[in-house]
């Protein structure tokens, strides 16, 4: 049984602080995804858990062991690298068994474990090959096999799918998900791809600039992002934002207006709002519907007709550029004026600090 507990973890390179105090609890068997833009510190955090980077401050607990200064091999972890990191001079068999060999595992036990891992990953026929004779997907399998054979409590994945082509990526994603269900081990997975994060994770950790922005189940992050960063990062296409002022607060509804928005009525959040407050309005492209006299004004700048849906790039009066994804086919023309309404229950307001107001 190994959950993880990160307590106020810090990492600095000289003067530069890249991880600025991360607190996180991961339960045994959870699939956790670290997601964020490049340079946000997600890989560094993973490598700190792996023991490949020294921890500058804070505590890292794996199971009930304080692991700050424990060698990677004694942490009960295994890692799958972005570029697979297979030893080019060894066969698949030796690649998978290298860790066991170093641990001086008896030959027959080793053989049996390697065969078992190969069976799980359906790569028995590859065991005698060298990495150079494998396709990208096969290499990925071997890398995972090398992790499995260590029987770790925690699997670490560092952007493992980024070198695969699109079709293979979807397949491998499903396999990793299945593997998680079969093995029941804790998995921590780093990616910059939010689709991977949404589909794989039990729990997503959104990082930006070394700080955790939000931790939660994928759908919670989508529906109730904690701040502008998470709202903009999760969801595709991106959420649209525009600045508004509170015009009226009226029982269950609140009316906002701005340069681009005319008296849009929204479901009133629990927090108190005063007339005249400046807020940022966030609307997902899928939640916009074109209506005859809507509250959001714009002109069609670009149309992408995909058949099942139509993606419209709308230019607002302030010059801001929004995306609307409309169900079905719409024959619009460039330059045409359009007005929209937004689903009042799904729009989100953010205060001046960028935090969502619920």
């Amino acid at each position: 049984m190994a959950g993880l507990s990160l307590k106020s973890l810090h990492k600095s390179y000289g003067e530069v602080e890249v991880i600025k105090g991360v607190d996180l609890d991961i339960e045994h068997g959870e699939f956790v995804v670290f997601v964020g833009p490049s340079g946000c510190g997600k890989s560094t955090l993973l490598r700190m858990i792996a023991g490949l980077e020294d921890i500058t401050g804070g505590e890292l607990w794996i199971g009930d062991k304080l692991c700050n200064a424990v060698e990677p091999r004694d942490r009960g972890i295994a890692m799958v690298f972005q570029n697979y990191a297979l030893y080019p001079h060894m066969t698949v068999y030796d690649n998978v068994g290298f860790g066991l060999k170093l641990a001086k595992t008896p030959h027959d036990v080793r053989e049996q474990k390697i065969r078992e891992a190969a069976r799980i990953l359906q790569m028995e026929h590859l065991l005698d090959r060298k990495p150079s004779q494998l396709s990208g997907g096969q290499r990925q399998r071997v890398a995972i096999g090398r992790a499995i054979v260590r029987q770790p409590e925690v699997f670490l994945f560092d952007e493992p799918l980024s070198n695969l082509d699109a079709a293979l990526r979807v397949d491998t994603r499903m396999e990793i998900s299945k593997l998680h269900q079969d093995l029941g081990a804790t998995m921590i997975y780093v990616t910059h791809d939010q689709v991977e994060a949404m589909t794989l994770a039990d729990k997503i950790v959104v990082l930006n600039a070394g700080v955790v922005q939000q931790v939660g189940a994928p759908i919670d992050l989508y529906q109730r992002p904690a701040n502008l960063f998470v709202a903009g990062f999760i969801g595709s296409p991106k959420m649209n934002f525009v600045e508004v002022k509170v015009g009226a607060v009226n029982g269950e509804t609140v009316t906002v207006s701005g340069q681009d928005v005319l008296n849009l009525q929204l479901t009133k959040p629990a927090a108190s709002l005063g007339v005249g407050d400046t807020l940022t309005l966030g609307v997902r492209p899928h939640d916009l519907t074109p209506v005859a006299s809507g509250s959001i004004l714009g002109r069609v700048a670009l149309i992408e007709r995909l058949g099942n849906e139509t993606i419209v790039n709308v230019e607002l009066p302030s010059g801001a550029s929004w995306l609307a994804v409309l169900a079905g086919d719409h024959a619009l023309t460039r330059g045409e004026s359009l007005t929209f309404n937004a689903d009042p229950a799904k729009t989100i307001l953010f205060d001046k600090a960028g935090n969502a107001v619920y």
Partner: protein
């Protein structure tokens, strides 16, 4: 403190331990660095088998006053310039020939490179015999063509150049190989673009080949120039610095003074060679590398 806290908050051990440097560093420091540094002191002494007396810069004064020592200094620079210059020009030419669509390319590459691997002393002795003014094969061959060959190694004006030629004969293969690698690395696109721009073979060479093979040129010049300044074995095998002191270089002077028991003067020769290399090679390498960075 650091040693007392190996567990909780200590740093994990590096995968790249510093002690990997240690064996190499010890050998290098003891057998190369220490003598090099102490040579600065010994060059300021009158040093014999028995003792070393501090005499200031006297050795250096002698080095620049004795005509045969000055001659050695000049010879060294001339030798280095000739050999590295010829290796650049011939190496480049041979490399272009051997990367072209020529017949027997493999044979030619091999035959040009093989002398690089042969004993320098063996080559020296062989060419000493071949260059004999009357019985040497070279002059006998020239005589067949009706040319009276010169006294390659016995003419004081010619001896140094003759040795330099042999040096080029032995070393041009290495320069060629380096240039071949440099030329092969130039993407074909450039030649195609130049051709579309209307460049002929000469423009191709001038505007594509020459600038883009500059890293190779830098390597060839640096290697052969340093090698030329330090040459000892070939000169010793062919002329022993003679006739007279006509083909002496600093390296042969160092050996002669050592043999004669003038250890201080010999070591001063080392320091002179050190300084010579420093003031000539460092600017050249910096120049070559700076140009390279511009592209």
């Amino acid at each position: 403190m650091a040693a007392a806290a190996p567990t909780s908050h200590g740093k994990s051990r590096s995968l790249y331990p510093g002690w990997f440097f240690l064996p190499a560093a010890v050998i290098y420091a003891v057998l190369f660095l220490a003598p090099t540094l102490s040579s600065f002191y010994y060059s300021l002494t009158r040093w014999t088998l028995f003792n070393a007396t501090f005499i200031g810069l006297d050795n250096f004064v002698q080095f620049f006053r004795e005509p045969f020592l000055v001659q050695g200094l000049i010879n060294t620079v001339v030798y280095a310039v000739i050999t590295s210059g010829l290796k650049v020009v011939l190496g480049m030419a041979l490399a272009m020939l051997l990367t072209s669509n020529i017949i027997a390319r493999g044979y030619l590459r091999s035959v040009v490179f093989f002398p690089v691997l042969v004993s320098t002393v063996g080559v020296g002795i062989t060419f000493t015999v071949l260059m004999h003014p009357t019985q040497g094969m070279i002059n006998e061959g020239l005589a067949l063509l009706g040319i009276k060959g010169p006294g390659w190694l016995v003419d004081p004006k010619l001896a140094l150049f003759s040795v330099a030629l042999v040096d080029v004969w032995k070393g041009v293969g290495l320069a060629t190989v380096i240039y071949i690698a440099g030329l092969v690395a130039i993407p074909k696109d450039y030649y195609e673009a130049a051709r579309i721009d209307g460049a002929g073979p000469w423009q191709n060479f001038l505007y594509v080949t020459l600038p883009l093979s500059r890293p190779a040129t830098a390597t060839v010049i640096t290697l052969s120039f340093i090698g030329g300044l330090r040459t000892f074995d070939l000169i010793w095998a062919m002329t022993k610095g003679g006739p007279g002191f006509a083909s002496d270089t600093v390296a042969s002077v160092i050996y002669k003074q050592y043999q004669a028991g003038f250890y201080g003067l010999s070591t001063a020769g080392n320091v002179v060679l050190f300084i010579l290399i420093g003031i000539l090679v460092v600017p050249i390498t910096m120049f070559l590398n700076r140009k390279q960075g511009h592209e």
